[in-house]
């Protein structure tokens, strides 16, 4: 029984820290709010690090690593708000890899960048596969994929869709069964949208009988991709939480009020201890998701959903608490704290939302209980 990282994983993490440290990503996150062109293009950095091939088998030119390794990379990206296209890319590569698709070599080499166009698996409370709508609380219908791979439907708020070469679209076939197809970006319409957090590239994807290559994948692969995306956004959130906790603790030691460092007051001390508690819980669930992803696939849905739920709540709490600890100055444009708050506000509403991840935890537990 051992949850320690392997040497390779430690190295992967350090390499990521080092590579990302060479770009002023946090500064860019603020500047891009007013001038999107200020956002650095990290695609070359991603390719040089080989992250695009992380989940692709070695015999297809990838690194053949696992979900947990991908989580470690996303965590480092989250620490510095790095605008990498990995959240959209990695689940796409996982599906292509499962299908042994012809595009794998080009994807592993970085010639082609795919993006995952997600669909939400059915659950005990929702019989259909669904997608995120542009707005409103009702779920959207999943795209319909024909036998020839052509696909029709609309999926909103797709991470990293703008600029992608390939869209790996998850939807349902005529019989309503989950299916996937890979579409040339040129065959689809992708409306680029950014909201509140300039570092997050999103797209509204509209497919209108768009030609595609039907992928030979099973329901399990498509379900796994959804939860992989959850584990990745959760890891990214976990990284951001770590950064804000460090910021808050430093400030709480230096800022004085009524003759004492504010960190000596229980109100501040206990709030930061609560951030630590939530962060450590999310960290523990990251191990759960990593372990289940590798050794216990039947628990991956529960583990990844619980991880996202915990990390999402931790991110909401930590970013607000970071502003509180800093006082008024922490809510000004020039301060970094609001950038992490912006990240939290948007992340919370992507990929079904933290709220849906929680519902999945209930779904998995209730199904297991009924089965037992």
């Amino acid at each position: 029984m051992n949850l320690a990282l392997s040497d390779e994983q430690e190295f992967l993490r350090e390499a990521a820290t080092g590579a990302l440290a060479r770009v002023k990503t946090v500064e860019a996150a603020r500047e891009a709010l007013e001038d999107p062109s200020k956002l650095p293009d990290l695609w070359t950095l991603v390719k040089d690090a080989g992250w695009n091939g992380l989940l692709i088998d070695e015999d297809h030119g990838g690194a053949g690593l696992g979900a947990f390794d991908a989580m470690l990379v996303l965590e480092e990206c989250g620490k510095v708000l790095a605008p990498t296209p990995l959240l959209g890319l990695l689940p796409a590569t996982a599906i292509l890899n499962a299908a042994g698709d012809e595009s794998l070599a080009a994807v592993a080499s970085g010639e082609l960048r795919p993006a995952y166009v997600p669909a939400r698996p059915s659950s005990d409370s929702h019989a259909e596969w669904t997608v995120d709508p542009v707005g409103g609380f009702a779920r959207g219908a999943a795209p319909v994929i024909a036998a020839d791979g052509s696909v029709t439907g609309t999926v909103a708020w797709v991470p990293d869709a703008p600029g992608a070469d390939l869209l790996v679209v998850v939807g349902v076939d005529e019989s309503g069964a989950p299916a996937a197809t890979v579409v040339e970006a040129s065959a689809a319409s992708v409306e680029a949208v950014t909201r509140f957090d300039a570092t997050r590239s999103l797209g509204h994807v509209t497919l209108d009988g768009s030609a595609g290559r039907r992928l030979d994948v099973g329901e399990g692969d498509l379900t796994a991709a959804w939860y992989l995306a959850h584990a990745l956004i959760a890891s990214e959130s976990l990284g951001t939480v770590q950064t804000t906790l460090t910021m808050s603790v430093e400030y709480a030691k230096e800022r004085f009020t009524f003759g004492r460092a504010i960190g000596s007051y229980q109100s501040v001390k206990h709030e930061l201890t609560e951030v630590l508690r939530q962060m450590e819980n999310a960290r523990s669930l990251q191990f759960y998701a990593g372990w289940a992803g590798a050794d216990k696939p039947e628990e991956f849905a529960l583990a990844a959903s619980a991880f996202r739920n915990a990390a999402g709540h931790a991110l909401d709490f930590a970013t607000r608490s970071n502003i509180n600890v800093h006082g008024g100055i922490g809510a000004t444009w020039e301060h970094d704290a609001p950038l992490y708050f912006r990240r939290a506000q948007l992340s919370r509403r992507l990929l079904g939302g933290t709220h849906d991840a929680a519902d999945r935890v209930a779904s998995e537990l209730l199904l297991a209980a009924a089965a037992a």
Binding site: G136, W157, V193, F196, L202, S267, I323, G328, E334, R348
Partner: protein
């Protein structure tokens, strides 16, 4: 128990209403760009009209040009102005807090020179208390006023979170005049000219992107000896008067910054999926319950005011409740409406972006809860490490602690 007007109040309300009916088309829009001089001038002009109709400074004694009325009448005016959909006075801070302070502590010269132009919007005022290192701990102000041989003062330092500074003529500033006595003792209140040489005003942008506050820098500004308000060394006492009137103004203000449960319910009611979701409903219900409570807490405060009582620190709890309920509302609305609720064009963008800062505006929640726990519940105070220590030593201690 009765929320209806007395005959006298009803008559006053009718009179206010008819005046507003007559003049409302001369009113500027309720909101505009606070950087736009033309808009601000239109608001000045409108305040002047209100003042001439005795609808500004309603509770000011009539000898100073006010309405000479009570808090209920002030609320009636606020309610009717809101109902008429026109803006109220421009200089809420001057008329609500600083003018009353001059009436309480100012010299006759200060009163006759300043109160008229303040009331009529010719001269807007700002409050210069907070500093980067003196927020919740207001008595830690470092802005220094040095007495010159000719009896004038030289003012140097930085203030922050200053509303309306960009179009104010005067400001009331809390400055340290003696650093060798304990921090509450060595302060003095002054009237400062905001358009003078040596005063630099810089807008302070919030998460919203708007400069809703200012930073104000004083570089060796010379101010006359007769600019002192309330006596040299009595700055803290004078400041407390202002803060008391601030609570009073908030107590009389209409409920929570326009964060009203019916607005939130309206936005959700169009989404049938959300309306059918028990969890969404619980969240709407819980935050609305808090906001409804704040409305009636306001009526309770008003009952106390009308009974001649001054609102105590517990009235700060209404602010805590309002801010946290509105934060919950922002989360709920964005969860239901999706990322578009976060777009700058969204009705909710400003609320969601502004609230994190509002949470610590006017003192952090922690300090407020300390004050209420000690003054209202009578719980013992925290150990204070800054009591009785000369301010200069205190600063030295902090510096070494961090080093």
């Amino acid at each position: 128990m009765d929320l209806n007007d007395t005959p006298e109040q009803a008559a006053f309300r009718q009179q206010v209403r008819s005046w507003l009916q007559e003049h409302k088309d001369q009113a500027p829009p309720s909101s505009g760009d606070s950087q736009d001089t033309a808009y601000i001038d239109s608001r000045r002009a409108w305040q002047r009209q209100l003042a001439e109709a005795n609808l500004a400074g309603v509770t000011w004694p009539s000898e100073f040009g006010g309405g000479g009325k009570g808090p209920i009448e002030q609320v009636i005016v606020n309610q009717e102005i809101a109902a008429a959909g026109v803006p109220g006075i421009l200089d809420v801070i001057g008329i609500g807090m600083l003018g009353p302070c001059l009436i309480a502590h100012g010299t006759q010269e200060q009163q006759s020179r300043h109160l008229g132009p303040m009331l009529h919007g010719d001269e807007v005022w700002c409050q210069l208390f907070s500093e980067p290192a003196a927020g919740s701990d207001l008595a830690a102000v470092q802005t220094r006023a040095k007495l010159n041989d000719d009896g004038s003062w030289s003012l140097t330092g930085q203030k922050v979170w200053t509303t309306n500074a960009q179009f104010s003529t005067f400001g009331l500033i809390l400055a340290r005049t003696d650093a060798d006595v304990p921090k509450h003792k060595g302060m003095t209140m002054f009237i400062v000219p905001m358009e003078a040489e040596g005063v630099t005003i810089r807008g302070l942008r919030q998460i919203t992107g708007e400069a809703e506050f200012n930073e104000v820098f004083f570089d060796d500004l010379n101010i006359p000896g007769d600019a002192v308000v309330g006596g040299v060394g009595n700055g803290w006492g004078t400041a407390l008067t202002v803060l008391m009137f601030e609570r009073l103004t908030i107590g009389l203000g209409s409920e929570g910054f326009g964060y009203r449960s019916d607005r939130f319910a309206k936005a959700l009611s169009v989404d049938t999926a959300a309306c059918a979701d028990p969890e969404i409903r619980q969240r709407l219900a819980n935050l609305s319950t808090e906001l409804l409570a704040v409305r009636f807490t306001g009526y309770r405060t008003l009952t106390a005011l009308a009974g001649g009582q001054i609102p105590g620190p517990e009235s700060g709890l209404a602010k805590v409740t309002t801010v946290n309920a509105a934060i919950a509302a922002g989360e709920l609305l964005a969860d239901v409406l999706g990322p578009d609720a976060l777009d700058e064009s969204s009705e909710w963008f400003h609320m969601i972006s502004f609230l994190p800062g509002l949470k610590s505006a006017g003192g952090t929640e922690a300090i407020l809860r300390n004050t209420i726990g000690e003054r209202v519940l009578g719980l013992p105070p925290e150990p204070r490490l800054d009591k009785g220590i000369p301010f200069s030593e205190l600063r030295a201690k902090e510096k070494e602690a961090v080093a």
